[in-house]
Structures are given as structure tokens and as C-alpha cells.
Amino acid sequence: MSDYKADFPVFAAYKDLVYLDSAATTQKPRQVLEAVEKYYREENANPLRGLYELSVKATDAYENARESVRSFIGAASTREIIFTRNASESLNLISYCFGDLVREGDEILAAVSEHHSNFLPWQQLAKRTGAKLKFLECDKQGEYTADALNAALSPNTKLFAIAQVSNVFGRVNPIKEFADICHKNGTLIVCDGAQSVPHMPVDVHELGVDFLAFSGHKMLAPMGVGVLYGREELLEKMPPFLYGGEMIEYVTRDGATYAELPHKFEAGTVNVGGAVGLHAAIDYINSVGFENIVRRESALTALAYEYMKQIPHVNIIGADSAAEHHGIITFTVDGVHPHDIAAIFDSENVAIRAGHHCAQPLHQHLGVQSTVRMSLAFYNDEQDIERFITTLKSIRGRMGYGG
């Protein structure tokens, strides 16, 4: 196995760190940090407006990043790729710009396991328009079925929101099948790719989704850059999101015409440094290769899962097969509060997450108050999993429980 950690400076700065919180944000490889620094050192100017060489370079850097995202997710045109701050902003953008696509009496359907970012914007849209928000329920294994979706859709369902991979279950949802079902019903499908795009090949055409949102910082890129993919004909119909510089064609005292896609949705000076970082992250991911990434992450997930299953009083949330976890294992330990579990891991320099993982409706659905989540990436190794397991085994003992 290659030592990918050598590419990530944080592991040199923090030698003893076992980082198992990549679903929250990934660490950044040297190649990304260097690309961002090079941009600011050698190519920085305000893009899109300057009529001089440096500004043209900045514009190119930004638009090349857009092209790299386009080809990474298989979109037809760069007009369909909008840069945002993160997945949350991408999802909010859709909900604010839905215009009259959703009206009073319509229905919006959301999967119950959604991250608050793919749920609160729809709750708000429903409130603003008088539409009704309904939930698609999953079973204890985190599985959604086509039958349940068919039953939940009505002739008035305008939109269905679901993640490709849940940030709690780690399970892959059958997006392609669901997209077909939705389209037959005249329903648009919004896919949250925050946890899938970094870890598996995602092709928007193959999936057939109408929108896909994801965050750069969960895929090795800097914080502050995210992506919204939208089908061109839908984006054309939608009004702008924010108003200001760069998103106009012509402005008079009492009106304006708006710029072409994708600039219509990118008001103000954009985050070129972030986009350049995302471009470098995509190059890095491609150089490692998804085949490698998927193989490594599956092997590490299986290793952790099989150990965890044998530890008494550890309860894994979701599917009872490692193959359905995709680098994310959420769990509880009998008698020990998740925050205390996280503190004990922290005392051993193992970084994991505790809480409701921004998925409170799901926790209510599962009947647990909060949980602990370990999430990995290809830069983790077997020793990381062993350190995680050793600490996990010690937790009940340290909290005063015998045996």
C-alpha cells in the first residue's frame, strides 16, 4: 500500500494523529496547498473584469477549474457548473431560485436521513410557498425502496431531495433508479453528493439527476468552495440567486438583464483561490484513481466494521454489512454518552465526531439522541483502524463499567 499520508502535511505536523473525521472535512494534500499558493503568488487579480494580462490569467485559472469540475462529474457544459461556498449554499441556491416551480398545494419530498442542509432549505421553501413537505422513510438498515418512493410520490410532488450517500449510514442510495421514477412522475430530483463525489465516480448523466450539490472541502480542496450542478434548461428558467457585480449583462436605473449561465448565479468577486484548489484536488484524486480509492476505503471500512461487531456493547447504526458503509460507521456504546466517547478518543489523539451529525430528524426516526461517527478516507491505513479499535475497546472500562 502506498503511503498517501506523506502527501498530507498535517500528518507530519501532528505525528500521532489518527484522523477519522473525513466526512466532516478531509485533510489537504501538498499538491492542493501549493496550487493555491502559486495562484496567489503568480496569477492573482480580479477575474472577469480586468483588461490586462494578470486578470486574464486569473479568469483562465477560474474557468479551467470549472472545466475540470465539469469533466469530473460528466456534465454536458460548463454552463451547468456553478461555484458556491459549499453544498449548503448550493442547496439553498436551488431552494431560493425555484421561482414558480413550486406553488401552494404542491408537495416536496425529502428523505428522512438528509443532512439539515438538504432539508431545512425545503422546509423553508414549503413555508414560503404553502407547499407541503413530506418525508420518505427508511428502515433501520438505512435502506430506501423504490416501492416506498412510488407510494410517497403524488401527482403534486414537484421535487425529491435525497443524498447519494448518507452522512450517518454511509449507504449508497439507488439514485439512478429513483431519478427514473421521479421523472416518470414529473418530479425533479435534487441529489446531495457531499459524501459521494469525494469517494466514488459520480456521473450526472448516468445518474439522471436534475441537480447535484457538493463541497470542495470534503474532497481535499480548501474550505469555501462548493459546486452546484444543474441541468441547463432548468438553470435558464431560474431567477438569479444573489444580485451584484459580475452577474449582469446591462443595468439601467430601473432594471437589468442578467448575465449568461453560469455567471448569473455568481454575484460579486468569486473565490478563484478556492476553485484553483478544487481543480488541484480533482487532479490529485484522478492521479490516485477512484479504483484505488474505492479499494482502499472498502478494505479499511471492512476491517473496522468486523472488529467493531465483535466488541460487546458497541451498536452500529444502519446496515449490517460492511459493504454498505462506504467509509462511514456510526455507532453508540451502551451506557456511555457520545460526547464522553469522543473525549476519550481525543485523549488518545483519535479524531472522531459525536452528536447528531446535522441529521436530527433521522436520529428521532431511529430513536437515538446522539451517536458517534468514524469516517475514513484513502489516506488512512490499518494502524489508524487498530488505534481506533484499541481505544473503542477501553471505553466502557474507563467509564467505570466492569468488563
Binding site: 457520545p338 460526547h339 476519550i344
Partner: protein, 146 residues
Amino acid sequence: MADNFYNEVLIDHNLHPQHLHELPCATCSNAGLNPTCGDSLTLHLSIDGGVIKDGSFTGVGCAISQASTDIMLDLIIGRTPDEARHLSELFGRMIGGEISDDELEELEEAGALQSISKMPARVKCATLGWKTLDKLLGEQITGGGS
């Protein structure tokens, strides 16, 4: 961070809390919420003749919030609301890292939570019960009760 952070006092109060139960004779109750984790607890007091005669708490929480609240109730039962407010102020200062050794002694077992002052992520857990106490006693004054 200290490996022995979950010391015996804390573990004991978490595993065997004396005051985790309903309080049918309560004269006042107040709910506190820790917004960072969603944990909540409700504090119940029975105040009679200017003295906290009894107290309890209900709800779920981490070892730190549970133990801290249990220790707090040990300390304040039998005291006046003014004395309880004074202890709460001391506790707040201990967590803020600004307390003298003499004052620390006044806090008795609650001193076991002193190292929280170095763990910003857990401050809200340690102070949940105490903040709820402050609110409850504050309401007693403004409400003109007891």
C-alpha cells in the same frame, strides 16, 4: 489532554447519581438545553422557608453534565438560594480558570471538574446544570415566589 480526566468522583456521580429522579414535592422546575449537543435536563427544587430543602434532576446528558449537576445538588441542598448563587458564581469562575485555592475548597467535590477549564468543547456540558440553577433562582426573585 489528561488521560485521567474522567476521575473517580466524576465516574461515580455519573454511574450512581443520587439526585437523578422526579421530585413530586418540587416548588419550582426549569429546563436547560445544551444547544451544541441537544442534551437537556430539568432541574427541580423544593424551596421552603428560604432554604433549598430538596432537589433533583431529570433528563439525559453526558457524564460531565450529569456528574456536575449531581455534585451541584449535593452542595446546594440545605442551603439558602443566596448561598447557592454564590457557589454557582464560584463554579463559573473555576471553569473560567479564575479561582483561588480557598474558593476552590468551598466548592468541595465540584473541584473535580476543574480541568474542564482547559477543555473549551466541554464547558457547556459542565455548566448546564449550574446555568439552569441560576435561571431557576433568578425566576424565583423576579416571580416573587417562595
